[in-house]
């Protein structure tokens, strides 16, 4: 019986997570278009794109590229699975980092100057947000007494009450992770931008489709972290936290449309200042 429930939960996550990620990406495109007074694509557009890419000819320059892209996607899926099953947050963070490492390797495997530029910037971006993700996990441990994601549903009050500054820091690095405008240095989801797509310059067909699907899972995990800040024992908070995740995502869309891209140095310095001020102050207050 327990095995059956576990299988059903895993299946549910494997279906719901990409569906949610794809819909959010579609929503992002529609809302962006409306902000620019355009009509925009259908909300299912990301699914159409992926289906098309999956059937297109693949012309990868190196056989390693496809291998690394596949591994990156698998680890992203694994991260969301761990998170969705309410397991160890630290393990999620490590699996997530591994997914990023494989993505970076795929960028370096193609020998193209464009993807080299993008990959170097991707590394800078990882440096921008990675400390914050670790601080989030650590702060969560301090307020809930365990690294288990599932324990959030047993807390007496939402984590954001005791981790307000860490939450602000997380919101800040969210745009780095989701590659939204001031920080979309390594590749941009806007057409014809960021050195014609940086890391994914050389990817075609199924590889590009896998990168897109990975991004859906990344989005779900990133918003999952936001979710952790708002849930507690009360069932009403579970739905409210979902609404707040959506609000956080739409805020990212607004920022994406309102800011110009920054240089890598500023991105790194600004992120680290925000991370160490918010994270440091919050952890200090927590331990006073």
């Amino acid at each position: 019986m327990r095995a059956l429930i576990l299988t059903l939960r895993i299946l549910g996550i494997l279906i719901l997570a990409p569906a949610a990620g794809g819909l959010l990406t579609g929503l992002d495109r529609v809302v962006s278009a409306r902000m620019q007074r355009r009509k925009g694509p259908p909300i299912l557009q990301p699914f159409y794109d992926v289906m098309k890419l999956a059937r297109k000819q693949s012309t990868t320059v190196s056989s390693m590229t496809r291998y690394f892209v596949t591994l990156s996607m698998c680890f992203n899926i694994f991260t969301v699975l761990l998170f969705g099953l309410g397991l160890d947050l630290m393990l999620c963070v490590f699996a997530f980092t591994l997914a990023c490492v494989f993505f970076v390797l795929s960028g370096y495997s193609s020998n193209s100057p464009f993807s080299f530029v993008g990959t170097e910037r991707e590394l800078v971006q990882i440096m921008c947000y990675e400390p914050m993700v670790l601080i989030v996990a650590f702060g969560y441990y301090q307020v809930s007494g365990s690294f288990n994601v599932g324990d959030a549903f047993r807390m007496g009050s939402p984590a954001v009450m005791r981790l307000p500054f860490i939450f602000i820091g997380l919101l800040y690095v969210l745009s780095v992770k989701l590659r939204k405008s001031p920080f979309d240095l390594s590749m941009s989801h806007h057409g014809h931008q960021e050195i014609v797509k940086g890391v994914i310059t050389e990817l075609t067909g199924i590889c590009l489709a896998m990168v897109e699907v990975s991004h859906w899972f990344e989005t779900v995990f990133a918003l999952g972290l936001v979710y952790l800040f708002f849930v507690y024992a009360s069932p009403a908070s579970w739905a409210a936290a979902l609404a707040l995740c959506l609000a956080a995502f739409l805020m990212e869309t607004l920022i994406d449309n309102a800011f110009a891209r920054v240089k890598w140095k500023l991105a790194l310095q600004a992120s680290w200042i925000v991370i160490f001020v918010t994270g440091g102050v919050n952890l200090l207050l927590l331990n006073l």
């Binding site: 794109d49 297109k56 057409g191 014809h192 014609v196 797509k197 310059t201 075609t204």
Partner: protein
């Protein structure tokens, strides 16, 4: 390919046009015509593109570039030649360096008429080209 019709990613290349047609191509992206309604993206990367949109009559200098862009695009793909210049050479036909149309360099699927082509016509051309990559 059912989904290819819903997600045409476009690569735009200026093969020595007067820029008139290029302005109209860009106009397709603005709020009035908004080609993204059809899922189209103006990608700058031949490896991601489905449709190559070329303006201008192509000269001896860029013929190799056009051929390379075309070869880098993964199948299925289509080429749309925008404007009279791209079709026959147009007003540049008698220039010593012009090869007289995109069709001289790579196979073209759809010719969009006009000098300059109207954005409506360009969108129409793209939709026609989609029939080829279905």
């Amino acid at each position: 390919m059912k989904y290819a019709k819903k997600s045409p990613w476009i690569l735009h290349y200026d093969g020595s046009s007067c820029n008139g047609c290029d302005i109209e191509v860009l106009a397709c992206l603005n709020p009035l015509f908004d080609i993204e309604r059809f899922g189209a993206i103006n990608t700058g990367n031949p490896k991601h593109a489905d449709i190559l949109l070329i303006t201008g009559a192509i000269n001896e200098q860029n013929i190799s570039v056009v051929k390379q862009l075309y070869e880098q695009m993964p199948n299925p793909k289509a080429v749309v030649a925008v404007g009279v210049c791209a079709a026959t050479g147009g007003i540049f036909k008698d220039c010593y360096n012009m090869i007289g149309g995109v069709g001289e360099a790579i196979p073209v699927d759809v010719y969009v008429p006009g000098c300059a082509s109207r954005p409506e016509a360009i969108i129409d051309g793209v939709v026609k080209a989609l029939d080829k990559i279905k």
